[in-house]
């Protein structure tokens, strides 16, 4: 599901996430409001549901709208996968659905794909 056609404007306030960022599947809170910056960057992410999973050659899609997080401890709840190249993939801490985004080891930046999460009011 390409995310370029989806309008996320309503979720952005002063360049940050207006509402909580939650898991699409179990509603676990990933980021509390106003803790991440909107960023447009093209990045290929393995699909959450794979038809034939192979570690070397997973089915991927290009995602382009992310919530950028500088300090990993900004996350309310999140899982970090084992390292693949320069990357750790992000998952829901509760149901482990993912990748919902990725963590770039050299820059220590984390990116959550807007298309892979839901947005809700603060709890």
């Amino acid at each position: 599901m390409p995310d370029c056609n989806v309008n996320f404007e309503a979720e952005i306030e002063e360049g940050q996430n207006k509402r909580s960022v939650k898991c699409k599947f179990c509603s676990s809170v990933i980021l509390t409001p106003a803790t991440a910056a909107i960023m447009n960057v093209e990045h290929s992410l393995p699909l959450i549901r794979q038809t034939k999973t192979t570690e070397e050659n997973p089915d991927t899609e290009t995602t382009s709208v992310f919530w950028a997080v500088k300090d990993m401890f900004t996350f309310q709840n999140v899982g970090f996968s084992n390292t693949v190249g320069n990357t750790k993939y992000l998952t829901c801490a509760d149901c482990e659905a993912g990748p919902i985004g990725f963590h770039d080891i050299p820059t220590k930046m984390s990116f959550v794909a807007l298309s892979r999460v839901s947005h809700g009011d603060p709890i």
């Binding site: 599947f25 179990c26 509390t32 803790t35 393995p46 699909l47 959450i48 549901r49 794979q50 999973t53 570690e55 997973p58 500088k70 300090d71 990993m72 401890f73 900004t74 996350f75 309310q76 709840n77 999140v78 899982g79 970090f80 996968s81 084992n82 390292t83 693949v84 750790k88 993939y89 998952t91 801490a93 509760d94 149901c95 482990e96 659905a97 993912g98 990748p99």
Partner: protein, 208 residues
Amino acid sequence: MAKTYDYLFKLLLIGDSGVGKTCVLFRFSEDAFNTTFISTIGIDFKIRTIDLDGKKIKLQIWDTAGQERFRTITTAYYRGAMGIMLVYDITNEKSFENIKNWIRNIEENASADVEKMLLGNKCELEEKRQVSKERGEQLAIEYGIKFIETSAKASIRVEDAFFTLARDIKAKMEKKLKEASNPPKGHQLRASEPQKKPTSWLSRCSLL
């Protein structure tokens, strides 16, 4: 941007493979995710945020990532650990017997004052139980640590376990800070003031 938390605790989950250290509600109700990319590469650690007595606490929880298959865990893995959750499966006698080995491994490799807790996990049905609750309690008493039985199907107890462990670490830390500041009567030093020589344990804590 200002830090959004008060404490950061590094916690480890230790126990035999297959005791359900990583198992959570979702995997039981919907095993579709077991075939995904993420379960293939595995989870390294999780970050969770809890509120404890008005303080925001970040827990960084590490799983042994398969190292436990070798029945020993390296010192590097224990470095900086402030709390260890010892996990066994109540439907697996062997995993319970091995807790003693894990405690020995911890004593040999981890910091002496690491906070420990015993967790009897129930990933399957009660009918398959091999280890009674009493035996779990008895073992915990033997080692002077806390004990809780949890079920992945009632994730609330798992959360309780982490709260208990975090609360004990926080209490220990605050006690140490109080001792370190050695306050003369009447005037109390603030915990955030730099200490002349923090202990190795304290230096690993993020006190903000």
